[in-house]
Amino acid sequence: MTLLLPLLIPLAAVLALPLLPNNAQLTRRVAALAGFLQLAAGLLLWRQPPADLSVSWLPKLGLSLDLGLDGITLPLLLLSALITAMAVIATPVDQARSRLFYGLLLATNLGLTGTFLARNALLFVLAYELILIPTTLLVATFGRGLRSSAAIRFLIYNALSGFVLLGVVLAMGWLHPGGVSFAYADLAADQFSPVAERWLLAGFLLAFGLKLPLVPLHGWQPITYTEAPTPVAMLLSGAVSKLGAYGLLRFGVQFLPDTWAAWSPWIAVIAAVTTIYGALNAIAQLDMRRLVAYSSLGHMGLLVLALAAATPLSLQGVVVQMLAHGLITALLFCLVGTIERHTGTVAIPEISGLMNPYRGLPFTMGLMLLGLMAAAGVPGLAGFVAELLVFEGSWVAFPWPTLVCMVASGLTAVYAVRLFNRVGFGRLDNERADWLNTTWGERFPAVVLAGLIVIAGIWPATITSFSEASVTPLALRQTDLVLTANAAGAEFTAPELLA
Amino acid sequence: MATILETAAGAGCFNTLLAAVDAAGLREALESPGPFTVFAPVDDAFSALPPGTVQTLVDNPPQLARILKYHVLAGAHNQAALVAKEQWDSLEGAPIPIRSVDPFEVKNATVVTADIACDNGVVHVINRVILPG
């Protein structure tokens, strides 16, 4: 029953928030408490891996409450709990309509948790659709100037994603050779006909490609991340977008392995295009938030590259990259939000000299440097571990797309240095620099995220050793590269590459 | 006729200037045949300077001499000759501009009485101490 805790905590908070008095401080505390409790529950589950839970719900529809956690979903659960808590703390203390705001944030978290816990495709879809409503409302209600057009775009793309996903999952369940079933166990066990596999995978690629997003399905992403309030952007980029990668891993690599393997060269090309597209666009941006949005897009491409390669190492890379990317983008959006709150702008040409020790935002910019370095894959930080695993794991399968992604990763350093040079160095404008320094309260979420980035960079074994057992069996290609001796893939030492 | 210094002493309104000339050790030079053109500030001109100014100079003869030399031109020039040129080089080295003909103004000082002829030059009485620069 402990499996229900991560679901019940945000659910209770979502239900309780509207009943609380309209007091921004109080609601903020309740929401943060829910986030931390969920995180604690997640850590508890990590210490004592629970047995799967299965409660029949609507058996006629094939819907049952199948819940479970493995080495892939548990890290994601922890990530989403952490980012939710940090997003709550990164919210301005005087947030207007705080009950609604935090309620929607936690509802999003509830949906996310549901998708990660689900061991049933229909339950997954249900939770997936649940996320759409609060996120759209958050962007539409609390966004910036262009929030309505951002929300419309977000809604169209993501509703399409949800609609397609619902159709494909229903088809999958019905086409299931062993009778109608949506349980992951059944879906993984049996083979679909090749034609069915192709149609299903096309549908999943569309649905999750919209979510990630992948180029050319990314039309909603930059504007949404730009217009969304900082905590929402943190949650969307840090946690919600991971659903796309997770979905592809689950429904593509795991359930439709043959077609996935057959199509993977093309998927790798799309991934490379996404990566280079994101990096090049990030270089061209004049708005810090858009820069981070495009940077995030580019790094999503790396995930898909690793998924396409589907070697034990690259799939390890997927898990680590999901975590690293979640932490890094959430950190960057959080810092950009801090900069905007203090300086009143995120336009790169308008600000400079923020590293100024007396009148700038030296602490924030210091963390920004760390975040950018992590994004650029500097050793010792989480991004390096993730990218190393991705590149090393994918190289054996797709050298050329990997090479392109490596170039794009190098371009990360270009926009990182450019951003930091323009904003951090140079002359601090005397007229404009009339703000107070950040307080420790404001710094807290960024400090936590940055700390985890460092820890994950120095000691990645915490994650890899945990996820390895779950990930390695999903690998479609084997390599002679193994991470640790006790890995399940260690028995496939023969260099039989299915390139 | 009298020398420049004798003329000045006779006038009675150049006590500070004469004392300064003595302090700076310029008496001998000004008694030489010259000829010189001297712009002589009256006592009131010196007392118009902020307190301490004159005392510091009197305590430091070389510096005082430099300021006094700025009031002296080589050669005897009367008003008519002086206004023909825009500026004249003083014995100190810095130029003295002729700012106005009527009234006759030398640098920022106004000439109260012009063309007092002496044995060894010409004296023009001015109402303000002039300073180089």
């Binding site: 009148r359 | 305590d59 300021i67 180089p132 620069g133």
Partner: protein, 436 residues
């Protein structure tokens, strides 16, 4: 608009000249009324006097050490201890303070200021040997004073005869005697002198400027101390009073000799004798204001300039990196002279200024910048005093009845304000109290 003539008959007297149309017409009219470039507010008065005090204490060290370097350290090939000023120079009677002074500007004593001695003993840390304070950089930063000297040396021709004299044969002969005497027991250095005489001469020129600056500041330190004491007694009514005190001070010491003596084995070598007639006003003060307040050079560590792209003026006279144009915000970058000065002043801030800084901006966290901007204000006031003194010396009284004379004054003031037309000038900012 008809003025109420019955109430204010003096308002009916028409001004002799029309108002200025200069961009800084307000400032010019204030100067013509005997005011300062800095607006006359109690807050400005408090800030500038407080910072004069904080400036004067390290300045008391600067001038003593500058003279120590110029007169005693001289050409020491390894001047590692040039900031370790001798007791003799700490006790050297200031010419403008103490009972022995001929012209007493400050009522206090002639030796090094007690606050300075206290700081030299303790620093920011604890009592420890001088060498440790030095290495820990817990001391008065002479580097700032030397940067000022170098600005004067580098800009050179800024009026006065000082620089011309450094090129004369008399100066070369004097320097030659001193160099030979200084190295008479050091054949290696004498040999080097034979090989590279110009290099040694250049070093001596630099030391002459060091003496020049030391003699200049020997005056300013007591002036600022006295201003602080007068303010503490409630003596100044406003900013113009403070400026007038400076104007009178400038005149009173204008004739002070500027010289360079070197003491080698107890023998005095007059490299620049007093008899050359160099004066404090022409050979020290005016070049100092020009070189340090207006020009200086871009400080390393504050901003990068691309000379090829024309970001640095071709003409040295157009340099504009002095305190009047300074962007105080980069203060804090390690080791740059402005930061060192701010750091020096921070140690001696009077309590009322510390309180002021606590109430604004980031309070104690950015005191260095707040006091830097106060310093900028105070130097606009000093510059105003220089401008008024020059007007007084070279032009006409402010109440001159002759409109032509008033126009000459006006042209002079406008020409001075033209220097602040460039966008870097902080004159517009200091007009309000928001700039902190």
């Amino acid at each position: 608009m008809t003025p109420p003539t019955a109430l204010a008959p003096e308002a009916a007297t028409k001004p002799l000249i029309p108002p200025s149309t200069h961009r800084y017409a307000d400032v010019i009219h204030r100067l013509e009324a005997g005011g300062s470039m800095l607006p006359d507010t109690p807050e400005n008065l408090k800030q500038i006097i407080g910072i004069y005090k904080a400036y004067a204490v390290p300045m008391d060290f600067y001038w003593r050490d500058l003279l120590y370097i110029a007169e005693q350290v001289f050409l020491n090939p390894i001047p590692a201890f040039k900031y370790f000023i001798s007791q003799e120079y700490l006790d050297r009677p200031c010419s403008y303070a103490g009972d022995q002074s001929k012209l007493r500007i400050w009522r206090g004593g002639e030796k090094a200021h007690p606050e300075l001695l206290e700081f030299m003993a303790r620093g920011e840390t604890i009592r420890m040997p001088k060498l440790l304070h030095h290495l820990w950089h817990d001391r008065v930063n002479m580097e700032f004073a030397e940067a000022c000297m170098q600005a004067m040396l580098w800009h050179q021709g800024m009026g006065g005869r000082f620089n011309d004299y450094l090129e004369t044969d008399a100066y070369r002969a004097n320097a030659d005697r001193a160099i030979k005497a200084y190295f008479k027991r050091n054949p290696l250095m004498l040999g080097l002198y034979k090989l590279f005489p110009e290099m040694f001469l250049e070093k001596v020129k630099q030391l002459s400027y060091t003496a020049n600056l030391g003699l200049f500041w020997e005056v300013m330190a007591p002036v600022f101390f006295e201003m602080s004491d007068i303010y503490d007694e409630g003596g100044f009514k406003g900013v113009p009073d403070a400026m007038d005190f400076l104007v009178n001070g400038i005149f009173a010491v204008a004739g002070r000799p500027i010289y360079h003596h070197v003491f080698i084995d107890g023998e005095c070598f007059e490299i620049i004798p007093k008899s050359e007639g160099f004066t404090w006003l022409y050979e020290a003060a005016l070049p100092y204001v020009e070189a340090v307040f207006y020009r200086t050079a871009p400080f390393r560590g504050t901003k990068s300039y691309n000379a090829q792209a024309g970001q640095v003026p071709d003409n040295q006279a157009d340099f504009h990196y002095g305190i009047l144009y300074a962007d105080v915000f980069p203060v804090g970058s390690a080791g740059i002279p402005p930061t060192l000065l701010m750091q020096d002043m921070l140690h001696f801030l009077p309590p009322y200024l510390q309180d002021t800084y606590k109430q604004h901006k980031r309070g104690e966290d950015d005191q260095l910048i707040q006091l830097g901007i106060t310093f900028q204000r105070s130097m606009y006031n000093v510059t105003s005093a220089v401008i008024q003194a020059l007007r007084c010396a070279l032009l006409y009284p402010l109440d001159d009845p002759n409109p032509e004379h008033l126009m000459a004054n006006r042209r002079f003031f406008e020409a001075q304000m033209d220097r602040f037309l460039r966008p870097e000038a902080r004159l517009p900012q200091i007009q309000t109290q928001d700039y902190r």
